[in-house]
Amino acid sequence: MNVIVCVKRVPDTETRIRVDASGSGIDTAGVKYIVGPYDEYALELALLTKEAKGEGEVTVLTLGDAAAQETLRKALAMGADKALLLTGESGMDGLATAKALAAELGASEAPLVLFGVKSIDDDQQQVAPMVATLLGRACVTGVASFGVADGKVVCHREVEGGVEVVEAPLPAVLSITKGPHEPRLASLKGIMAAKKKPLEEKPATAVPSRLRVRSLSEPPGRPPGRIVGEGPDAVPELVRLLREEAKAI
């Protein structure tokens, strides 16, 4: 079964974010980029699906600039079969991103399209359900694991305080969260093989953004806190402060 996994190049989670001179972007000097952590979970489930079925191809797709080639190569090294880079801007307007992706995905016959549940940069958590809505396909979000049988996908999703099992007909779009399957590491053999795998590049359908970043600011600093004391003897004073000063309990 063919599966398409949409991935995004994002700054590593350990990155300290600094606002650049323009005031509306981040200073990218020294920033290390990674494949979106949730996108890696999506890729892992795609590879497991292909392996379970014993046939099919896993394609990784991204919208971005030339630097995103590195992200796609990483995904190829993990085991994806081929990659497609749609060159264009992927900004805050998730609907613009969704339209650019849907223009490509609508023409594909892959029954499953997977996304990470969210990108850890813009964190809008919206592109997967938007793509599905634009294409008129079923969409299940926050899927931890799934199984495919008889033209349907059965998904286990995380909900408040529990688990929900949802069935959707194929073709379907799923957004994947962390589940029981840890993403595999790229092996040296995988990294070598990735260099020879096909990576196609073409311009994305241009969609104007209607949600623009006017300015970016660093989070307001917190007033300096204090160490109330050491060990359990400090507890009564902590409780008093929480009640009388912070009015938090």
Binding site: T15, G94, I120, D123, T177, I227, G231, A248
Partner: protein, 329 residues
């Protein structure tokens, strides 16, 4: 075109606590825009309680869409009814709560209406007829001020950020039966399993008791559960990435850039050192308490109150003191 619509979420007929927050924001925006705040609730016939009460927070009108198939959330069913309702009027803005339901629903509604969506918004102002939005990016390591070039402006608001504000309005409740065809819905929920007692998501909790690697063993979570129970209702357990990665706690509890970003009134970090990606996820909490052995742990840089010490001594004492306080009223 100055009215603001709120999608209000109900569970078992009860309106969610975040509804009052979102209605309060809608009423404030509507005043600035010269319109009024409207609310839409979906549910089974006769099942929705407390709709009229939203008038206290500034809702001029509450429409209840009733249908047997709308008692429980269905993504396609709900998105269709909400989008149809929005199209019937000319709203300046449509607001959701950024709960897990809101995060699933709002993108579908926005895509159906062909307008952009701002998620997990922490600031929203109307000025001279235009609406400006502030939302965290990089899990709170920065905040973006956004301009929206579309009408209506669609946004989901982060729970616990906007205080509910009383502002009397009529709160006139009307019900209607939407035209829907459940047989066309593609998704089918086969099973819902409740694993913990209270269906409270960590991103909606007003108090979070969070544990990290310093807890040493998953069985020690009974200490955190004890503190949670002593603190009363609206309290959820949280976890650091390290303990989720170790399989001690479910990912749904994870706070941080690869988990949930939270803004509770009180965040108690126990045995959490405070990695950059964890701090990003909880630094907008109103009050932060840290309990850690290591006086140099980065968590103390964001904590309002810290106790340096052995959590296995401090935690039972804290639970005891808080339980005594609550018992005294």
């Amino acid at each position: 075109m100055a009215d603001v619509l709120v999608f209000a979420e109900q569970r078992d007929g009860k309106l969610s606590g975040t509804t009052r927050e979102v209605v309060s924001v809608a009423a404030r925006l509507a005043v600035s825009l010269g319109g009024s705040a409207h609310v839409l609730v979906l549910g089974a016939p006769g099942s929705v309680n407390g709709a009229a009460d939203l008038g206290r927070y500034g809702a001029a009108a509450v429409a209840v869409a009733e249908h047997d198939a709308l008692g429980e959330y269905n993504p396609e069913g709900y998105a269709g009814v909400v989008a149809d309702h929005v199209r019937k009027s000319e709203y300046a803005a449509v607001l959701f709560a950024a709960t897990s339901l809101g995060k699933d629903l709002a993108p579908r509604v926005a895509a159906t209406l062909d307008v952009p969506l701002a998620t997990d918004v922490t600031g929203i102002e109307a000025d001279g007829g235009s609406i400006t939005i502030v939302r965290p990016v990089y899990a709170g390591k920065a905040f973006a001020t956004l301009e929206v070039d579309a009408t209506p402006v669609v946004a989901s608001l982060r729970p616990n950020v906007f205080p509910p504000t009383e502002r009397a309005a009529e709160g006139a409740v009307s019900t209607f039966t939407p035209e829907i065809d459940p047989s066309s819905w593609k998704l089918r929920v086969i099973e819902r399993r409740q694993e913990s007692g209270e269906a409270l998501d960590v991103s909606e909790a007003t108090v979070i008791v969070s544990g990290g690697r310093g807890m040493k063993d998953p069985s020690n979570w009974k200490l955190l559960e004890g503190l949670r129970d002593a603190l009363g209702s609206g309290v959820a357990l949280g976890a650091s990435r390290a303990v989720v990665d170790a399989g001690w706690r479910p990912h749904g509890e994870q706070v941080g850039q690869t988990g949930k970003t939270v803004a509770p009134k009180l965040y108690v970090a126990v045995g959490i050192s405070g990695a950059v990606q964890h701090l990003a996820g909880m630094r907008t909490a109103k009050t932060i308490v840290a309990i850690n052995r290591d006086a140099d742990a980065p968590i103390f840089n964001v904590a309002d109150y810290g106790i340096v010490g052995d959590l296995f001594e401090v935690l039972p004492r804290l639970t005891e003191e808080i339980a005594a306080l609550k018992a005294d009223g």
